[in-house]
């Protein structure tokens, strides 16, 4: 049994978990005009930015201003620390503890600012060292004092769902007793222009699972969860928040950026995660769908949902209408939201939905549902390269 004992998050809808929860409950979206990212698209493309500047983050975290911290690393340190505090951990190395973080851009937000100066002039600074993906993981590990195990995952939009799956497997294999898992990604001009060149960015706040959806909004942030073994949970006598009861990773093997029309990869990820959790499909009370708001994803994911759940698709919603697509963070951020759903007996609404997709006739929840008992949640993350991972998060019985 893999227990979730702590959660931490920073996103466009809040700088910590309780702010995120407040926004989710009150339908407060984080999508809006670009404030911090330097780009020509400031007035044209809405995004889900974290509402703190780098300097504010450095001050809030009492970090040394002289050291090179990328925005990704700052998000990561903030959310990972919150998760560790939330788990009530005081002596982190009392148990074999690891850190697994996910990212797609890592230091790109800083690299793109200095790249031409680095390349064409004698100029040098410590941001030379922060480009590689591991930089943010090392910064988190150093700030938490973790030395036992570290790795970084980059499987596009499923990255931090994979971090959670790997963390669970490392505990199940007896390699670790405890692991902090999640992801961090800051918006960069590189990512914004990349997605823009693919023509899948909505010029308005996105509308997941709506017939008239026009694409996704990019988001940013970080989210981490503390996973602990049964042994550690018993010894620490700290009440866990939820259970990571199932996981599966599958590849769509269809196209580098598009999902197959019938959603075979998503179907495999979901059905194998249910198998791994030893649950029949009818036991799922709510699905936090990947639901990016692109033409392609929502249709494929919807078809896969219908293949698994037939005409009894459980209540579902996409929280990306709040946060934007946080890329590598999406899996762990939505896992944090799933834990909040279970703890508070609520289902978060899918903002801005009006009409169901013609082929699908699937209607997400559009209002907050309260006082609903949720035993099992399925959470989906699918991405470029056909990488897809589904998680099952369950209430502690």
């Amino acid at each position: 049994m893999i227990y979730i004992t702590g959660i931490g998050a920073i996103s466009a809808i809040g700088n910590n978990v309780s702010e995120n929860l407040h926004s989710l409950k009150n339908k407060i979206t984080g999508i809006g005009k670009i404030k911090y990212l330097e780009t020509n698209y400031k007035d044209e493309i809405p995004v889900g930015e974290v509402k703190m500047s780098d300097n504010e983050l450095i001050t809030a975290l009492s970090l040394n201003k002289e050291r090179a911290f990328t925005r990704t690393a700052l998000f990561g340190i903030k959310a990972a620390k919150e998760a560790v505090d939330n788990a009530g951990i005081t002596d982190i190395n009392k148990y074999k503890t690891g850190i697994i973080s996910a990212t797609t851009v890592s230091g790109m937000g800083s690299s793109e600012k200095y790249y031409q100066k680095f390349l064409h002039t004698d100029f040098a600074n410590d941001f030379i060292k922060t480009h590689e993906a591991a930089d943010h993981t090392e910064k988190i590990a150093d700030s938490l004092g973790i030395k036992e195990f570290m790795t970084t995952i980059s499987t596009a939009c499923s990255s931090s769902a994979n971090a959670m799956m790997l963390g669970a497997r490392l505990i199940n294999n007896g390699i670790l007793d405890r692991v902090i898992v999640g992801g961090a990604d800051a918006l960069s001009k590189f990512t914004l222009n990349g997605f823009n060149s693919l023509m899948i960015l909505d010029r308005e706040p996105c509308k997941p699972f709506d017939q008239d959806r026009k694409g996704l909004n990019l988001g940013e942030g970080a989210a981490y969860l503390v996973l602990e073994s049964e042994k550690v949970v018993k010894e620490r006598s700290k009440k866990p928040l939820a259970i990571l009861s199932g996981y599966a990773n599958a590849n769509d093997a269809y196209h580098q950026t598009a999902t197959s029309p019938e959603g075979y990869g998503p179907f495999l990820a979901m059905s194998n995660a249910l198998k791994n959790a030893q649950l029949n499909a009818d036991k799922i009370d709510y699905i936090n769908v990947h639901g990016t708001g692109t033409e392609n994803n929502d249709l494929s994911e919807g078809k896969a949902l219908k293949k698994i759940f037939k005409n009894k698709v459980p209540k579902f919603s996409s929280t990306k209408a709040y946060t934007g697509h946080t890329l590598a963070v999406a899996g762990s951020l939505e896992a944090v939201y799933s834990v909040l759903s279970i703890q508070n007996n609520i289902i978060f609404p899918n903002l801005r939905f009006k009409n169901s997709v013609d082929d699908l006739n699937l209607i997400p929840e559009t209002e907050l549902i309260e006082n609903i008992n949720i035993e099992h949640i399925l959470s989906n993350s699918f991405g470029f390269g056909g990488n897809g991972t589904s998680l099952v998060i369950s209430k502690i019985r």
Binding site: T39, N40, Y41, T103, T104, S111, E112, Y115, Q116, F118, L119, A124, D126, I128, K129, E132, A133, A134, T137, E138, A141, K147, E148, F149, M150, T151, T152, I153, S154, T155, A156, N162, L166, R169, L170, N173, I175, K189, F190, N193, G194, N196, S197, L198, N249, A250, N251, D252, A253, Y254, H255, Q256, T257, Y264, G265, L268, F384, G385, G386, N387
Partner: protein, 352 residues
């Protein structure tokens, strides 16, 4: 038990064919070493070859060869480690974006720039829907893939495709050289250990393996254990890590017949290796290899390729010998690597 049943390597040496590799070291005097280009036409259509970056192409070729050797059609998992990802396409998109002020951008380079492109393209080529993973943690990228593969075998899977892959670009080399990682001047690879300056020899390469639960006629070796550790305080901590690593693997210092270390020509980094050998393996034969490949985040995958081949053939070429200590039958090999004293790892290989 965990076995290596297939291997493939593309490096600055003739490593695609082990017999050719044994013929001798290819000498370079360069800023950084680059992998020898295979004849792409033998492996893929020219259009595909033009479209893909070197890392992706070489990853596909090495995955094919490793699968063929092990007689595996569809692996149960595809796991790739890469410290840098697809540098060439990342730079292409970044430079287009910066030079054209965010205008006139086409998505091709962006699509191919994501770190998981190699693993994804292999899955696409094989139509493999199984577990697919990409690790991107500097000098732990490939090691994480090995750990993951071993867990898969322990979980009941049979054949896992793993690879370490990194390419170096002119621009990234130039930028990283500024912070002192690489030597300031061209390096003569055959003289690597004679340098007394700081900075490593830089390189690149792609090495793939089939990790299997069962032995077959092509088995190279057994992987007995692997361990990674981050930023050790001093040599004492490294020695303690070594002792507990060998202890857990039920192996004694005396059982080790060959040590493969990751000397890079960097005075600071190599001192760690020399101390390690002096303090733990004074009379044991030792080998090094980064004069063949240069240093890169996943260079340890070349060491695994080398160790696996040595255990299978019992041949240690002279050009990788680090000392003259007498060699007996090679049953156990310890690979010790560190990436700029940040990421340290041990791998223990045994005769299958």
């Amino acid at each position: 038990m965990v076995y290596i049943n297939g291997t493939a390597s593309l490096s600055p040496q003739n490593s695609l064919d082990y017999n050719k590799f044994l013929e001798g070291i290819i000498e370079y005097e360069k800023d950084f070493l680059q992998s020898i280009k295979p004849n792409y036409k033998e492996y893929m259509k020219p259009i595909a070859a033009r479209r893909m970056s070197k890392t992706v192409k070489n990853g596909i070729i090495c995955s094919q060869k490793a699968l063929q050797e092990a007689k595996v059609d569809i692996p149960d998992a595809i796991i790739v480690g890469t410290g840098l990802g697809i540098v060439s396409d990342t730079e292409k998109f970044l430079e287009n974006m910066l030079n054209n002020d965010e205008k006139f951008l086409t998505p091709t380079a962006f699509i191919q720039s994501t770190h998981n492109t190699v693993a994804a393209q292999i899955a696409l080529k094989l139509k493999c829907h199984n577990y697919n993973f990409t690790y991107v943690n500097r000098g732990f990228s490939f090691e994480s893939a090995v750990i993951d593969a071993i867990m898969h075998i322990n979980e009941g899977k049979r054949n896992i495709l793993i690879g370490g892959t990194d390419e170096m670009s002119e621009h990234y080399f130039h930028i990283i050289r500024k912070n002192g990682r690489w030597k300031k001047t061209k390096v003569k690879n055959t003289e690597l250990l004679n340098y007394t300056t700081n900075g490593a020899i830089c390189g690149e390469g792609v090495n793939f393996f089939i990790i299997s639960s069962e032995k077959n006629e092509n088995t190279y070796s057994e992987i007995k254990a692997i361990n990674t550790f981050y930023k050790p305080e001093n040599s004492e901590e490294i020695n303690i890590k070594l002792k507990s690593f060998l202890n857990n693997a039920d192996t004694k210092i005396n059982d080790i017949d060959l040590v493969i270390t990751g000397h890079t020509g960097d005075a600071v980094g190599d001192k760690i290796y020399y101390n390690f050998l002096q303090e733990n393996f004074r009379n044991k034969p030792a080998s090094y290899y980064k004069h063949l490949t240069g240093e890169y985040q996943t260079a340890n995958s070349f060491a695994l390729w080398l160790g696996a081949n040595i255990l299978k053939t019992q041949i240690i070429p002279d050009f990788i010998r680090l000392n003259g200590n007498p060699i007996s039958k090679i049953k156990n090999i310890l690979i010790y690597n560190h990436y700029f004293d940040i990421n340290h790892s041990f791998i223990l290989l045994s005769q299958a």
